[in-house]
Each structure stands twice: as structure tokens, then as C-alpha cells.
């Protein structure tokens, strides 16, 4: 089923390896691939980086879950001390501050918590206040260490949540189930990966989004390969893209009613069925071999 043959190379496996599973769009099978790769490994950490819409827990059903609130620092002004000098508002790269008369207005949802305003204020009128951004959850699912995070409703930037997840990363094999797209959260996720697996659908739209995330991975200088999901007879624009751009195709996962059924029941296919266990074990080996052919960072 896997149509890529591993090259002959050193079989000494580095123990520390972080694989990001990406896709330009949602619904291509990132979570399917991520939970199954983690489930077939002897030991692995699965991290759900899709903090805006986490769903890995639906499949891995972690037990003994502990929860920790993650906060970010935001500036708060003491209007009695602020003299409206505008040093802070002029310096802010995000336009999160405005000064009307002597009143300083702070736009928390625009603020990126860089702290520059507080460090520049000559009157020491700004102080940092911790505000909740979301929660990080830790649990266990069989041989898998489970980590996920969920941002608070109404928040706009969850990058600090992904950073908080990465602080919990353990040694050994880690699978990062990335958010969809190619925005800030994906960029942050990729920055922690040694190798990127791009899951792509056999559609025109799928290949367009594959191109977007592939360009991002190239820009960040990370090694990558493509897994073609939901393949059927006929043309596959994502396969064509990979071939044109010399992206290694690591394998294909044919469209399959049984797999779709297991997934719709929120089951981990490789834990239910020997056929899928064997498929994802081979895929994991392919991913390990492919990532080994690049120097570890």
C-alpha cells in the first residue's frame, strides 16, 4: 500500500524526534494520521496544537486528565501616573494603544504581550497583569502521553498556548497535530518540528492548500514529505503538485468506507483493526526513516 521504498541508510534511530502533521485546510486527515501514528508507536507523545478547535481527545479519550490555566501578561494603566506622553502608543508595533487627551486606551485583543510599552513608560504607569488565555490538559491514552490545549472563547491569539504545550514536551517521539492553514499558530507549531508530514486531499482545493503549507515549510527550512489521503482512481492534483515540486510522497491512504466508519465512531482505527495497525506502523517507520535522512536540529 505504501508506494515509497525506504532508501538504504543508517538504522541508528535518534530517540528524540518531533513530527508535525500539517495540511493547508481542515478535514484532510491530520488528526486521523496523528492519533494513529502516536497509537502504533511503542511510546509517543501526542500534542493537539489545534487549540482553537481541539479534537484529538475525542479519539484518544485520555484518562487521568489534569488541567492547568495558562495566562498571558497584558499592560494595565494607572491613569493617575500616565501623563499621556505617547511613548508607549508610538512604539507599539501592533497599534494596541491610543492616547486621547491624557487618557490611555489599551486594546487587549490587539496586544501581543511583548511588554515593550511597560519597559518604555517613563512614568511607570503601566504594569503587567496576568489574564487567562486558555487551559493545557495532560493525560494518558494507553502508550500515548496526551497533551492538548484549548483557548478561551473570545481570545484572538493563541500562540502562547502552543508555547505552553511545547514546554510540556517530553523526550522521545512526539506527534504534533497541527492547526489547519498556514497562519501564526501553524508557523509556531512547525518551528518546534524536526520533520513535517503534509496530509493532502486529491482535489484542486486540496492541492492549492497543500501548496500554501508547503511554501511555509520551505520558508522555515524544515524537511517534509506528503501523505496522499482519500486517494481514488483518476487524477490527483495534490500528487501532481508534489511531483512538480519534488516533494517526496511518503505514501497514500486510499478512500475507504471502513476507515471512515471507524473515524465517525471516534475510534482509533489502528487500535481496532490489524490492517490499519499494520498500515500506520509502516507509515510511522517511513516517517522515521525519512526524518532520519535529515540532520536533527
Amino acid at each position: 500500500m505504501l508506494n515509497w521504498t525506504p532508501s538504504m541508510q543508517d538504522s541508528i534511530m535518534p530517540t528524540d524526534r518531533t513530527i508535525a502533521v500539517l495540511s493547508g485546510k481542515g478535514g484532510t486527515g491530520k488528526t486521523l494520521v496523528s492519533v494513529n501514528l502516536a497509537a502504533v508507536a511503542d511510546q509517543a507523545t501526542y500534542i493537539d496544537c489545534d487549540v482553537e478547535e481541539p479534537n484529538g481527545h475525542l479519539f484518544l479519550k485520555p484518562s487521568s486528565v489534569s488541567e492547568q490555566v495558562i495566562t498571558v501578561g497584558k499592560p494595565e494603566v494607572d491613569q493617575k501616573l500616565c501623563d499621556g506622553c505617547r511613548i508607549c502608543s508610538k512604539a507599539c508595533a501592533f497599534n494596541a494603544l491610543a492616547v486621547i487627551g491624557k487618557q490611555l486606551l489599551i486594546f487587549e485583543e490587539i496586544c501581543h504581550s511583548c511588554g515593550l510599552c511597560m519597559s518604555l513608560c517613563p512614568q511607570h504607569a503601566l504594569k503587567e497583569v496576568q489574564k487567562p488565555l486558555g487551559v493545557v490538559r495532560k493525560g494518558r491514552s494507553g502508550s500515548v502521553s496526551f497533551l492538548s490545549a484549548e483557548m478561551r472563547i473570545g481570545e484572538s491569539s493563541a500562540v502562547p498556548l502552543i508555547k505552553a504545550l511545547m514546554r510540556e514536551k517530553q523526550t522521545g517521539l512526539t506527534i504534533l497535530d497541527s492547526p489547519p492553514g498556514s497562519g501564526c499558530l501553524v508557523t509556531e507549531t512547525i518551528s518546534h518540528a524536526d520533520f513535517c508530514l503534509l496530509v493532502a486531499e486529491p482535489t484542486k482545493f486540496g492541492s492549492h492548500n497543500l501548496a500554501m503549507v508547503h511554501e511555509l515549510v520551505m520558508l522555515m527550512d524544515k524537511p517534509c514529505a506528503v501523505l496522499l489521503n482519500k486517494t481514488q482512481d483518476g487524477e490527483n492534483p495534490s500528487e501532481a503538485y508534489a511531483k512538480t515540486h519534488n516533494v517526496r510522497i511518503l505514501g497514500s491512504l486510499p478512500y475507504d468506507k471502513e476507515l471512515a466508519h471507524l473515524t465517525s465512531e471516534a475510534l482509533v482505527a489502528s487500535r481496532e483493526n490489524e490492517h490499519y495497525r499494520s498500515y500506520f506502523s509502516s507509515l510511522l517507520q517511513e516517517v522515521k526513516d525519512a526524518s532520519d535522512s535529515y540532520p536533527q536540529r
Binding site: 501592533f94 494603544l97 491610543a98
Partner: protein, 120 residues
């Protein structure tokens, strides 16, 4: 009073720019002198917070009234703090909107949108 109108082009007979924060120019009209001028919107290309910066710049230009189709909540907060009157634009040229305002034919801006600053 000094009126600001978001403008696509530096022409009084051109239509308004539909966006407030991302408008390339603002027409500034002084009702006492009956004189108009155009200023470039320095915030138009900001990656984020364009409405806040544009509102700050207009407050600094001492405007007392804004005629616009739309306004985001953050820009509205800045303009409210400076007691700027917010008026709803009509689907006419900049000059006709200014004339309509001087004849008290413009209604107050009722809807403030939630902004487009959440897409990252």
C-alpha cells in the same frame, strides 16, 4: 467643525471608501472656512490595529465629526473617547455627503461592527 470622510481617491466627487481603517485617504473638511483637503492614511497598510491608529491620527487632526459607512468597535472606542460625532454616510459622493451633513440630513451611525482583527 472639522469633518473627516474616508476616501478612495483624492477627489471630492468620488465615492467614499467603504472601509474606515483601511481607507487610503481621508477628506478633511472645515465647515467654518468651507475648505477641504485630503490626508493620506498612514495606518492603511498596518498588519493590525489599522482602525485604532487611523482614529488616533484623525483625533490628532482635531476632527469633531466622522462620516462613514462602517466603523469597527476599536476605532469607535477611540473616537468616542474624543467625543467625535459619528454619522452614517449616504451612497453619494464625498461632496454630497458633506453637503447633506451641513443640511443635517445625515443620521447617526447606529451599527458598530466587531472588526476584522480576529483572523490570525
Amino acid at each position: 467643525m472639522i469633518v473627516a470622510v474616508p476616501a478612495e481617491e483624492q477627489k471630492l466627487d468620488s465615492p467614499l471608501c467603504v472601509s474606515f481603517g483601511r481607507a487610503p485617504y481621508y477628506c478633511i473638511f472645515d465647515t467654518e472656512k468651507q475648505k477641504s483637503s485630503f490626508i493620506a492614511n498612514e495606518a492603511a497598510q498596518s498588519p493590525g490595529g489599522a482602525g485604532i491608529q487611523a482614529a488616533q491620527d484623525l483625533v490628532d487632526a482635531k476632527i469633531t465629526t466622522l462620516i462613514t459607512f462602517r466603523l469597527g468597535e476599536n476605532a469607535a472606542k477611540v473616537l468616542h473617547a474624543a467625543n467625535v460625532t459619528l454619522l452614517k454616510a449616504l451612497n453619494l459622493s464625498i461632496a454630497d455627503n458633506i453637503n447633506a451633513m451641513q443640511e443635517n440630513k445625515l443620521a447617526e451611525l447606529d451599527a458598530i461592527h466587531a472588526g476584522f482583527h480576529h483572523a490570525h
